[in-house]
């Protein structure tokens, strides 16, 4: 069963229109919520006048902090699954976020709500609410925000709210011995995950069960249960959060949002069923984004292209709050080495608050930024050393002989980073062969003679995934022979109902058709940590393995007694007595297991087991992308001629789903490379506030992809699986940037994504200039709070 691609179990309801997303929830007497949101990036709410709104037909009430004082409180703690403490951080302030604040700190921040009999009436009510704002200075630019003189986002502390540092080796010595030294600023934009379903919440108080039932779009729905329990002071088991059919997440729906808590609080207080469904405009303004990140690198190398040292300073614009603390910059540091040896390394990072919406990790979560940074460094080094980019990579590659390889980094679960059970050389060589790299180099030279501009780019990524602390699974066989797998995670499209069923079927010996998976509901298993950080297969998958194995042992023991047989074989939901024709079905065994006295020594009645899997640390997946494209120098348009992906994610449970994850992820990486950016203007207003302005890839943007799986099972978990959810996008921006730069071929350096057609044209027309950041940097670049910064090099003028 494992390693095959049965059709997905969840598909049937989705292709027939019978999925049940939050917007589909209908409750008797249900009212609709619309949030009053700030028009300004920083302002004090002097007055909210709701008299006119309350007169609108259909408007039931307007909830302000005066109306419901509970909402004056802060959203309780936010946790990321698995992070005990950040090993690199020496400063980490997490400003608390008030549910209905009196000072709004980003455009789109909510501070009151209209409740009405229809969503249309709620929108009318919203229009009629009058708000007096007292404007406050807007902190818009992270670099100016770092200055001591900058206005502050939060009272009580400066705008730099987190800092980390880590180093290995002897950096200064390496720089003094270097033959090649260069500096470069590299920038990655803020992205929105742009799931097709926006956020939403529905909630009702069940008087008979004394239970608050919540339907949510959250990836970490147990956190909503936990936070509601804290705010309302009612036990967790009196709150049931259902988050089952979700229209995509990609990290954006990972953090518990204030609205996720506020809607159920209002339903509980008003004792009315409520539903809030976010509009796309609201989503663009107030759902979180990944945040701009800037990397100032200083590189030391020998003239033969051997890297000696990398010194990187990372600046992260975290928007208003710091919910995920330093997850993204920490991930960037820990994924920067990708496939290469960096003998001497120093990283430092700052998180800076601004009056932008808060940020949250988006698929890749710092890994895409790391990959872009490292491959840009290698491409610049290749030019400085007059080497082919492939040659530079080969000279610095971590080889099989180096395994297990310790980079000197420490993962954010506190465990040192070690690469093992993988072959990065084979990944690179396979990508080079499958992409016909050498053939394209020859064709590139020939076509250049004809005035055509072909570009080739290579990028290598690693993906750490499967962070703990743990996940559990309950496997239970019922007396109809149906096998239930209950898990503490939910799917936003990953296909858990299929992959978890495959794992269970294989290791229990059940037929796949008999197995069904339930998750996305706090009532099916009491503890879970949610779907994020590519952690479900490693954690939950192995928990399903353990539980299935435990139930199998019970099946085996009971079948021996029932069949009066020494050796029993289990397959297709039956136990067979070896060397005889006697057999018994799971259904019969499950019925017997209810009352059979033998179960006393097998853990109690029923064929049921709950096991938890605790990973020691993360797994490391890896891959290589090769992009080949042609540039039209007159229009700046690029056309991808071929795109090759070679990847390893350990044992693939369902190759079709793995392929879907990699290719779907690549599409998001393509968007990051050339199309997408969440743009804020000088006033902190969102300038890309709709799907017309924020360009996600369409069907015609996608190239044909040549995808190759290599399988290096990991020995770190019983299934031998590694994470795959975030692999797809990681290398696309680096490979495409490299290929565009190679096609331009005039010494220009691409230093920023997205790479727009206008950026390409500027580079084609003005050789030797750097990337999309063509404006000269502001004078006297920030030297805030005593932070030492080398003079940043905005443009790397070569050629």
């Amino acid at each position: 069963m494992i390693g095959t691609s049965p059709r997905r179990k969840e598909d049937l309801r989705f292709i027939t229109g019978r999925g049940l997303y939050v917007e589909d929830i209908q409750l008797p007497g249900m009212l609709h919520v619309a949030f009053v949101r700030s028009a300004h990036a920083h302002a004090r709410i002097a007055a909210i006048r709701s008299d006119q709104a309350r007169k609108i037909p259909g408007v039931v009430t307007v909830i302000t902090p005066d109306e419901m004082p509970e909402l004056r409180g802060a959203v309780p703690d936010l946790h990321e699954a698995g992070t005990l403490h950040n090993p690199y951080c020496d400063l980490n302030i997490v400003p608390s976020q008030i549910m209905f604040p009196t000072v709004v700190k980003y455009v789109g921040e909510h501070f009151a709500a209209v409740i009405a009999t229809s969503a249309y009436a709620a929108a009318d009510g919203l229009e009629a609410v009058e708000v007096d704002y007292e404007l406050l200075p807007v902190v818009n630019d992270w670099e100016r925000a770092m200055r001591e003189t900058s206005p502050r986002v939060h009272d009580g502390h400066g705008n730099v709210i987190a800092h980390l540092a880590h180093s290995t080796g002897q950096l200064d010595e390496a720089f003094s011995n270097a033959e090649i030294v260069f500096e470069q600023r590299l920038r990655t934009q803020s992205l929105k995950s742009m799931a097709m379903e926006c956020r939403g919440s529905a909630a009702t108080w069940d008087e008979s069960a004394q239970q608050l039932i919540v339907w949510s779009t959250s990836q970490q729905y147990y956190l909503i249960q936990e936070n509601l329990s804290k705010v309302l002071g009612i036990p967790r088991e009196k709150i049931r959060v259902i988050a089952r059919d979700i229209g995509g997440g990609f990290g954006l729906k990972g953090v518990p949002y204030p609205e996720d808590i506020i809607v159920p609080i209002m339903a509980y207080k008003l004792k009315k069923p409520l539903r809030w469904v976010e509009t796309r405009l609201e989503h663009m303004l107030s759902a979180y984004h990944c945040g701009e990140q800037v990397h100032d690198v200083r590189v030391a190398a020998r003239k033969d292209g051997t890297l000696l040292a990398l010194d990187v300073k990372i600046y992260k614009n975290v928007g208003t709050y710091n919910h995920f603390e330093m997850v993204t910059p920490t991930n960037t540091v820990n994924h920067l080495h990708t496939h290469y040896k960096i003998p001497n390394f120093r990283a430092e990072a700052w998180s800076i608050t601004t009056n932008h919406a808060p940020v949250t990790p988006y698929r890749g979560a710092g890994r895409l930024e790391a990959t872009f940074t490292m491959d840009r460094v290698l491409d610049i080094l290749a030019r400085k050393a007059s080497l082919d980019p492939l040659e530079v990579r080969k000279r610095n590659l971590i080889s099989k002989a180096d395994m297990p390889y310790s980079s000197g980094l420490i993962y954010r679960d506190g465990v040192p980073v070690v690469y093992d059970d993988t072959d990065l050389e084979l990944l690179l060589n396979t990508a080079i062969a499958k992409s016909d790299y050498q053939g394209w180099r020859e064709r590139q030279a020939q076509l250049r003679q004809q005035g055509r501009s072909i570009g080739i780019g290579i990028s290598s990524y690693v993906e750490a995934g499967g962070i703990g602390p743990c996940e559990g699974a309950t496997v239970q066989v019922d007396d109809h022979g149906r096998v239930k797998v209950a898990v503490g995670v939910n799917s936003q499209g990953q296909g858990h109902e299929t992959t978890m069923a495959q794992i269970c079927a294989q290791h229990l010996g059940a037929s796949f058709e008999d197995v069904y998976v339930v998750g996305g509901d706090t009532s099916v298993i009491p503890i879970g940590f949610g779907t994020a950080a590519s952690r479900v297969l490693v954690n939950t998958g192995n928990a399903v393995f353990l539980s299935a194995k435990a139930v199998r042992e019970k099946v085996q023991a009971l079948a021996k007694i029932v069949l009066d047989c020494d050796e029993v074989e289990i397959r297709d939901s039956r136990a067979f007595c070896k060397n005889s024709n006697r057999s018994v079905s799971f259904a019969e065994l499950a019925a017997k297991a209810q009352r059979h006295p033998a179960m006393a020594k097998l853990g109690g009645p029923g064929l049921i087991a709950t096991e938890f899997f605790y990973p020691r640390t993360v797994t490391w997946s890896a891959g290589v992308h090769v992009a080949v494209l042609e540039l039209d120098r007159n229009s700046g348009q690029i056309k991808l001629n071929s795109y090759t992906i070679v990847h390893d994610c350990g044992v693939p449970i369902n190759p079709m789903i793995v392929e879907g994850q990699v290719i779907g992820g690549f599409a998001q990486g393509l968007g990051a490379a050339i199309l997408e950016e969440l743009v804020y203007d000088d006033e902190g207003q969102v300038a890309s506030g709709s799907m017309m302005d924020y360009a996600v890839p369409r069907a015609s943007d996608m190239p044909t992809i040549s995808l190759h799986h290599l399988v290096f099972p990991t020995s770190s978990n019983p299934l031998g699986v590694r994470a795959v959810g975030e692999s797809g996008p990681l290398s696309a921006p680096a490979a495409i940037a490299s290929a565009i730069e190679d096609a331009i071929n005039n010494g220009a350096t691409i230093s920023s994504i997205p790479i727009r057609t206008s950026d390409i044209l500027k580079l084609v027309r003005s050789p030797g200039r750097s990337g999309s950041d063509l404006q000269p940097a502001a004078d006297g670049r920030a030297s805030a709070s005593g932070l030492e910064r080398s003079a940043a090099i905005p443009c790397d003028a070569e050629g």
Partner: protein, 172 residues
């Protein structure tokens, strides 16, 4: 101010007193209770609300329900015949043409009307025709494969009962 609108949806007449400003997509979802048709944006970009209206693929968030008074509509719920999936639905499942499923109803309806309009589909044409439908999960590869497969399956089953048509067409 309310007005009465009657729309035939999947063969059944839905007559409701509605506000004139009610969008067709909300008529389908809230009045007819058919929640398979989704809303993914406010600007008619995403296509999650695509339905068949009098034989045309229409984004139901761009029309008022009153504009569809008397019309015949097919939604995702009307695509299969009982328990028998439409070839497109089967193909989406066979080729992993969906992940989260949110864009899927709109994709399937756009694809259905694409098949109705074109005798022959190429990959390029499918990609062009899907310009109005966004999927964030799949990278479109499975969707394009599925539509292609369904198009071939449909063409094969169309040509079977009357092989003379196919011969005639190819000799032209």
């Amino acid at each position: 101010m309310h007005c009465r609108v009657a729309i035939n949806i999947n063969g059944k007449t839905e007559a409701h007193e509605i506000e004139p400003r009610l969008l067709l997509v909300h008529f389908i979802r809230e009045c007819a209770g058919l929640t398979g048709t989704h809303v993914g944006c406010d600007t008619s970009q995403c296509g999650a609300c695509t339905i068949g209206l009098n034989g045309l693929a229409v984004k139901s968030c761009t029309k008022f329900a009153v504009q569809a008074d008397g019309a015949e509509i097919v939604t995702i719920e009307g695509l299969s015949r009982g328990d028998t999936l439409h070839p497109l639905q089967q193909a989406f499942r066979d080729h992993h043409g969906l992940q989260c499923g949110f864009c899927t109803p709109g994709m399937l309806m756009a694809a259905k009307l694409m098949l109705d309009r074109h005798k022959q589909l190429s990959e390029e044409l499918i990609r062009h025709e899907l310009e109005g439908n966004i999927c964030r999960c799949t990278g479109y590869v499975g969707i394009v494969k599925a539509i292609m497969a369904a198009s071939i399956a449909t063409a094969a089953s169309d040509s079977q009962p009357d092989a003379s048509n196919a011969i005639e067409a190819s000799s032209r």
